[in-house]
């Protein structure tokens, strides 16, 4: 019986338990004693008892039997020797597993007694659309058949156990139904645990990010010294294709970090003044009619995915700036098609709505009394804004700018398309530089051996990026929170 079928069966038992439980509660209510809980709560409690433990067991059994099966396959494989045709035990085990999965596509007769040689078996499998690695060995066939048999047995036992637990739970739930039984409290307690569980996912995600990045990074630093990475000024990882063993490369973070910060700086120089001025205008000057049109327009601008900005920079703006500079300088232009300037400019425009919506919230949080106080003294609007509102909103605006800077540093698609891949170390904004995010993408797309430093360096870059933005985010969130409390 497949797991999906068992799952459906458990749900069906749960549904039956619900209706029986509810019916029982309705029958028991003779109107003499006030029931503690309404009938459907009894139904739900029976449903939960019938399904929850059974589904938990289903998951545990599913994972457990898979692990057991893998171990079983491994134990049956012949010892690895230096001249074995397969490089590692892990690979052999995975080949056997895919063979076993492939056999399931054949008709049961053949699957139970397949031909003894892989050469004979392969075309039969191929006819069913199963493509297997050519280095699958003959000796794996009986192991795979055995594994399939064992898997069938395991899932049958599992199904019986799970259904038994489910029916047991249902019976228990139904037997709990009594007039004064606190079914509602039971159901609600369980729901509360569910809610609590959901809210921990955020923490689990963060832990997952940190652990996964950390493990791979430690792995990386076992192969490449820390100083090479953090203080190296040359980025030349010697792209190694899968299987070539990987020659030593240089993994200097400095040029990438410099590029990241430089592009982010250019972007902030565009985004902060423009975004802040738009927010000020929207909050202080714009008539309600203008606001009603421009605010959604800015929101739509914020809703455009960054890849679209990147493509605009790559296809339109980059070549345009190059040709423009060529026309200005005569001959070759001083702006390259992919440059810090182009990437920063486009990223800056992408960030305008971010700055403006964050600042708009913060400016409108400044109490009206401040404005009135200043206007009442005969200040003009711009004097009020420059001398009272902006200084009062300053901490919040600093927080908003930090959050935006963190976005700029972590932005990927614009720089992948518009900044270039050459890890230059230059001060000229019209040349190409590259960023941390670009290199993460570069190192992890394409066929790469997962355990080579060329791949693992992406995780070291990732954790650097994560740490950098984490510090900025937390600091910014702290400032903004303090700022909001001040005016609440």
């Amino acid at each position: 019986m497949s797991l999906m079928l068992v799952f459906a069966a458990v749900l069906a038992i749960g549904a039956v338990a619900f209706f029986v439980g509810r019916q029982r509660a309705l029958v028991q209510d003779d109107g003499k004693v006030k029931p503690h809980s309404r009938a459907h709560y009894h139904g739900w409690w029976a449903f939960l008892l019938a399904t929850m433990p059974a589904l938990l067991l289903l998951i545990v059994w599913g994972v457990g039997s898979n692990v057991y099966l893998q171990e079983h396959i491994k134990s049956q494989l012949p010892m690895q020797t230096a001249d074995s045709p397969i490089a590692s035990e892990k690979l052999a085990a995975s080949l056997t597993t895919s063979l076993a999965n492939g056999l399931r596509r054949l008709d049961p007769q053949t699957a139970a007694n397949p031909p003894a040689s892989f050469a004979e078996l392969q075309p039969q499998l191929a006819a069913r659309g199963v493509a297997l690695a050519p280095d699958t060995q003959d000796y794996m066939i009986p192991i795979a058949v055995d594994a399939n048999r064992m898997q069938d047995r395991l899932s049958l036992i599992g199904a019986i156990l799970i259904l038994a637990v489910s029916i047991g739970g249902a019976t228990l739930g139904v037997s709990h139904v009594q007039v004064r039984a606190r079914a509602r409290n039971n159901v609600e307690k369980l729901v509360l645990w569910g809610l609590l569980g959901a809210s921990t996912i955020a923490i689990l995600t963060t832990i997952g990010i940190i652990l996964s990045l950390l493990f791979q990074t430690i792995n990386f630093f076992e192969r490449v010294p820390l100083t090479n990475f953090f203080f190296g000024t040359v980025w030349d990882p010697r792209f190694a294709a899968a299987g070539s063993g990987g020659s030593e490369g240089q993994f200097g973070l400095i040029p990438l970090l410099a590029g990241t910060l430089y592009i982010a700086l250019v972007a902030m120089l565009v985004a902060v003044p423009v975004g802040l001025m738009s927010a000020v205008y929207m909050a202080e000057y714009a008539s309600p009619r203008v606001r009603a049109v421009v605010k959604p327009a800015l929101e739509l601008l914020a809703g455009i995915p960054t890849i679209v900005y990147g493509i605009f920079a790559l296809v339109t703006l980059g070549p345009f700036l190059r040709d423009l500079s060529a026309a200005l300088a005569g001959g070759t232009g001083f702006i390259q098609a992919q440059s810090v300037f182009t990437a920063g400019l486009v990223m800056g425009v992408m960030l305008i709505p971010v700055v403006s919506s964050l600042s708009d919230d913060i400016i409108t949080a400044v109490p009206r009394a401040m404005r009135d106080g200043s206007l009442g003294l005969g200040a003009t609007r711009s004097e009020t804004i420059k001398r009272v509102i902006l200084p009062a909103a300053l901490p919040g605006i600093v927080g908003a700018i930090l959050l935006t800077a963190s976005r700029a540093i972590g932005e990927t698609m614009i720089v992948v398309l518009a900044a270039g891949v050459a890890a230059n170390l230059t001060a000229n904004p019209f040349e190409a530089m590259t960023t941390i995010t670009v290199k993460i993408v570069n190192q992890l797309t394409g066929d790469l051996e997962f355990n080579s430093p060329q791949t693992l360096v992406a995780f070291a870059l990732g954790i650097t990026l994560f740490a950098l933005t984490l510090v900025m985010n937390i600091f910014a969130l702290y400032i903004v929170r303090k700022y909001r409390e001040q005016y609440e």
């Binding site: 509602r184 423009v274 205008y281 929207m282 809703g303 679209v308 711009s382 993460i440």
Partner: protein, 439 residues
């Protein structure tokens, strides 16, 4: 006059002469400041307009595709010269189908079949996609062999561009991709009415292909659809449940503070970091398949969760305490209060947040690159476990192609993506306007 301000302080009551408070200068500053504001907003709007206009200008032609309608003779001598198709099914698979189309074209243009020079020039005229198209026709219905049918066949991308007038024909022949002879034929066919532009269905149904005219975003649309369904099914319930706990049940403690900081920070973590998470946890650790929409959906779920949680919490917090007291005062349990009163009132806000979160997830590219969705997938995936791509990833892949026909398709795909996103964002804005409640 100089000491008037001080006098004024001393004697507030006098009908004094007008003080000079620098009005002219101050109003000039005021005007300048206003102009800066208008300029700032204009910069944003103008950039948006320029970007949209260039993309639409480059992309709208992608929705039309040139086809040639040719009377194809399914000649048994070409398909099965040795007459073995009854015994060997491979014959019909491997037959020389392009030859059929070529013959039909030559007949149509009145070219002598033995003219080798003309035949070579004709090679690049029709799309290689004709092979698959004619093969499908024959394998579906072998009785077609020996008959003649009118078939619409895609022309090659260069001819398509030329026919749409996108290739500058005044350039020297050697420096453009379409020869003068091909242009002549093109005009001849067009005059006869057998060359025409049609709505480009293939753009929405084809998968990856190395030829622009037979590549489309069919796979990407399905992949994105799977991912959106996964995000909606996972992120919405989990996000709402988490928000309800944090907003209604959790007591203020270190733990809830930590969760709160965590969520706010997660909302600002660079998306590419989520890609790294997906790669090492879902693919390497849990062993889920690379390039699968399932993994993409899970990664996007984790990314979207904070957005939904933040929006939901704001919506819950906006429901006034009086409603809570009213429900509790009637003897409802806290759980009943939340699910029967607070949640329905907060629903529009939650919906708005969810739509915005989904829109962001739909346009997200970077994390998907890391989990292997930059893949050449020609066949539409039947389940979320099979390799697929996503709309923005497809756009990224086309952006890396050199041919102009790919740029056209890329811009067309951006238009489609933007239409989806705009529709979602506008729905969210309208929803918010409509249900915005002032308590």
């Amino acid at each position: 006059m100089t000491d008037i301000p001080l006098n004024g302080i001393a004697n507030g009551t006098v009908a004094r002469p007008r003080r000079d408070i620098g009005l002219k200068r101050r109003y000039a500053a005021e005007r300048r400041f206003r102009i800066y504001g208008v300029l700032a907003i204009s910069v944003g709007i103008v950039f948006l307009a320029v970007m949209l206009v260039t993309i639409i200008g480059k992309g709208y032609t992608a929705f039309w595709q040139t086809t040639a309608t040719l009377p194809i003779t399914f000649d048994a001598n070409v398909i099965d010269p040795e007459n073995k198709r009854a015994t060997d099914p491979n014959v019909l698979i491997t037959a020389n189908y392009p030859k059929l189309a070529e013959n039909a074209l030559m007949a149509k243009l009145g070219i002598n079949p033995d003219d080798k020079v003309a035949a070579r020039k004709l090679k690049g005229f029709l799309s290689d996609g004709a092979r698959a198209q004619l093969r499908t026709m024959v394998t579906d219905d072998p009785s077609i062999i020996g008959t003649t049918r009118n078939v619409e066949i895609l022309v090659a991308a260069n001819i398509d561009s030329a026919f749409k007038g996108q290739i500058d024909l005044s350039v020297d022949e050697s420096r453009r991709k379409v020869s003068d002879q091909q242009v002549t034929w093109m005009k001849q066919l067009a005059a006869e009415g057998s060359l025409a532009e049609h709505f480009n269905k293939g753009l929405f149904t084809f998968g990856a292909s190395s030829r622009p005219e037979t590549s489309g975003m069919g796979v990407a649309i399905i992949g994105s659809f799977y991912m959106m369904v996964i995000v909606l099914l996972l992120a919405l319930p989990i996000g709402v449940a988490a928000s309800i706990y944090l907003e209604e049940f959790a007591k203020k403690s270190r733990l809830t503070d930590l969760i709160e900081v965590n969520i706010n920070n997660l909302a600002a973590v660079p998306s590419i970091v989520f890609g790294l998470l997906g790669l090492s946890v879902f693919i390497n650790f849990l062993g889920l398949p690379r390039s699968a929409a399932l993994v993409g959906g899970l990664v996007l779920t984790l990314m979207t969760l904070p957005t939904i949680i933040i929006a939901t919490r704001a919506a819950l917090a906006a429901v006034p305490p009086s409603i809570r007291s009213a429900a509790l005062g009637l003897g409802a349990s806290k759980m009943q209060m939340v699910f029967q009163h607070i949640l329905p009132l907060a629903a529009p806000g939650i919906l708005t947040g969810t739509i915005i979160g989904l829109a962001r997830a739909l346009g997200e590219t970077a994390p998907l690159l890391l989990i292997g969705m930059v893949a050449f997938v020609a066949d539409r995936p039947a389940t979320p476990l099979e390799p697929s791509t996503a709309l923005p990833v497809q756009i990224y892949m086309w952006a890396n192609e050199a041919e102009r026909a790919f740029v056209e398709r890329m811009s067309g795909a951006i238009i489609i993506l933007l239409i989806f996103l705009m529709a979602m964002n506008i729905t969210a804005i309208v929803l918010r306007r409509r249900f915005e409640r002032r308590w």
